[in-house]
């Protein structure tokens, strides 16, 4: 340890290599959580309500409607038309749900989902349009008064045209709007599937979702149920291969860096060759010296790794403010995955260094080295 304190400049290249590559790994791995975070945000509205449609009928028949009305776990039923608003991600695109309902319901749906109006106004029949999550608006470069939809841009995926009347803030990324004029409603009914939003009574969401899943007609599910669990499972399957990429990146980087660190450790060892020759000559054991080297390598690698994590986090924090947020990219800065993945780096580096230094130490002829010096 004394060597690290008094001759740090000799091992600084090792510390730099580990710290910089750790920071690099953190900066590469952390933003991949944007896929999970975006999926989570797009799903978050479903914590407040569940979306259903009849599984085998065009519309609910009277008996089902009555059964739902009398179910003790359900507070209200809200008919909606559901579409998607496409927006760019770091790689590829995401879709946030656009729920179109009666003007009286727009604010209620947004507030149920835990959102608040941060700019503009809620749409009504005099001001038809949508309120959109501000993150989605930033990603789409939309502002209050902007218009989007296939009538504005044929490449868009949302049929029709929608004026952004307001922006929403909060966790859930959804858009809520009015169905507009009867002419537009007719257009929507042809292109936007009809769903029913079910508001649960307080504390009854799980019971309501279970009832909906267990409901049967002729032994088959009665409803298409789009709830939080269903969407989470879909997201989990869609993102199942992200760890493959992360793990491969971490492993291959760790191995390459470990070899570089081992070479740098050998160079540093060369500078201390006489010290070790002397210590062997005066009767210190090889195993004692190797343990000391292993401890030094371990402390150096761990310290450098921690510095790398801090540097990487600061870089990510700055990049989040300057680049990710203005583009509406959701990135979770407090992510354990880069820590776990980059933890391989100091471990493999110490292992490679100890093996390389051990081989050198056990082959060393201390007398020859001391005599060469004399």
């Amino acid at each position: 340890m004394i060597y690290l304190r008094r001759r740090f400049s000799r091992v600084a290249p090792i510390a730099m290599a580990i710290a910089l590559v750790t920071a690099l790994l953190e900066c590469v791995i952390t933003p991949t959580n944007t896929f999970e975070e975006t999926a989570r945000a797009n799903i978050a509205g479903l914590r407040a309500f569940t979306v259903i449609a009849p599984a085998r009928q065009a519309e609910f028949d009277r008996s089902w409607r009555e059964r739902l009305e009398h179910d003790p776990s359900i507070e209200a039923q809200v008919p909606v038309r559901a579409l998607w608003v496409r927006y760019p991600m770091v790689i590829g695109e995401a879709y946030c749900p656009l729920l179109l309902a009666d003007e009286m319901r727009v604010r209620e749906i947004a507030e149920r989902a835990g959102l608040r109006l941060v700019a503009g106004r809620y749409p009504d029949n005099n001001h038809p349009g949508v309120v959109l999550h501000q993150g989605v608006a930033r990603a789409r470069k939309l502002a209050v008064g902007s218009r989007f939809g296939t009538w504005v841009d044929p490449d868009d995926t949302t049929p029709g045209v929608y004026i952004v009347q307001g922006l929403l803030g909060g966790d859930a990324r959804i858009a809520v709007g009015t169905t507009g004029s009867s002419l537009f409603e007719a257009f929507l009914s042809a292109r936007a599937p009809g769903y029913t939003l079910l508001y649960p009574r307080t504390g009854a969401k799980a019971r309501m979702d279970r009832m909906l899943r267990e409901a049967r007609v002729g032994g088959e599910p009665a409803f298409q149920v789009i709830d939080e669990a269903y969407m989470n499972e879909r997201a989990r399957k869609a993102l199942a291969n992200v760890p493959v990429l992360v793990n491969f990146t971490a492993l291959s980087t760790s191995i390459v860096v470990a070899l570089i660190v081992a070479l740098l450790a050998l160079v540093a060892f060369q500078a201390r060759q006489e010290e070790f020759a002397l210590r062997l000559a005066i009767g210190q054991r090889q195993s004692h010296l190797l343990l000391e080297l292993a401890l030094e390598s371990g402390v150096l690698a761990l310290g450098s790794w921690m510095v790398g994590i801090a540097v990487g986090w600061l870089a990510l924090y700055s990049y989040d403010i300057l680049v990710f947020e203005p583009r509406g990219f959701l990135v979770r800065l407090y992510d354990l995955r880069p820590l776990v993945a980059s933890a391989l780096l100091p471990l493999v580096s110490v292992l490679a260094s100890v093996v390389a230094l051990g081989a050198r130490l056990y082959r060393m002829d201390p007398v020859a080295i001391l005599q060469r010096h004399e």
Binding site: L278, Q286, P366
Partner: protein, 223 residues
């Protein structure tokens, strides 16, 4: 002569370089009792350093044996590390102090027990370097560094002290001071000093001459 502490019997040492072999020692035998000192003189390349390495157990003789305290050094120098650390103090031509350690830390490298660690300060006092114990070797003079080397060699109160040309990098006056310190601090240890300067060996009980690996002469040194 009393019971020998150090005993070398018909020691041969051969260095091999591929198919070529060079004999550094040819049938060297010597005995030394505790508290006695032996000076070894010889020109450069005569085998003085090789002899000390064999006596210290750092090189295994090609033939013959070396016993310290009645126990023979094993043929693998790595196997006797603990014993060498406790029983042998080696003063090198150069001080060979670890540059990033203070004199105190350098001395502790060899200290094999708590009493040895505690002895560092009092021993440094006798060597006149107590005030320098917390200095790094790069900040003190060559003579002071060599005293630091002696401090390290003596810290365990060893049975045998070996000094290989300990004054070669010092001026004559400082060299004499250093050798004088060695003699004063050696106590009951057996002391072997190699030098090409006869004045450094004046106080030795005996002085032997080494030439081409052959030891000759067995008389007390003339004062």
């Amino acid at each position: 002569m009393s019971t020998p502490l150090l005993e070398a019997r018909d020691v041969w040492l051969e260095y091999r370089d591929g198919t070529r072999a060079a004999k550094a020692l040819r049938g060297v035998s010597l005995e030394l009792a505790a508290g006695q000192s032996l000076g070894i003189m010889g020109p450069s390349g005569s085998g003085k350093s090789s002899l000390l390495l064999v006596l210290a157990g750092l090189r295994a003789p090609t033939r013959g044996s070396v016993r310290l305290g009645g126990v023979e050094w094993p043929s693998n120098p790595g196997a006797n590390a603990d014993r060498r650390r406790r029983q042998v103090g080696f003063v090198f031509q150069e001080s060979f102090l670890v540059p990033h350690l203070t004199l105190r830390e350098n001395a502790r490298l060899q200290a094999a027990s708590r009493p040895a660690v505690e002895r560092v300060t009092s021993l440094a006092e006798s060597l006149g370097i107590r005030a320098l114990l917390d200095e790094l070797p790069g900040r003190i003079s060559a003579g002071e560094r060599q005293r630091g080397g002696i401090l390290r060699a003596l810290v365990n109160d060893p049975l045998l002290i070996l000094a290989d040309e300990p004054t070669s990098s010092l001026d004559h006056e400082t060299g004499l001071e250093v050798v004088d310190l060695l003699w004063r601090c050696a106590g009951d240890a057996a002391l072997v000093i190699c030098s090409h300067d006869p004045s450094m060996l004046e106080r030795a009980n005996r002085v032997l001459h080494l030439r081409d690996g052959v030891l000759s002469g067995n008389a007390p040194a003339e004062s």
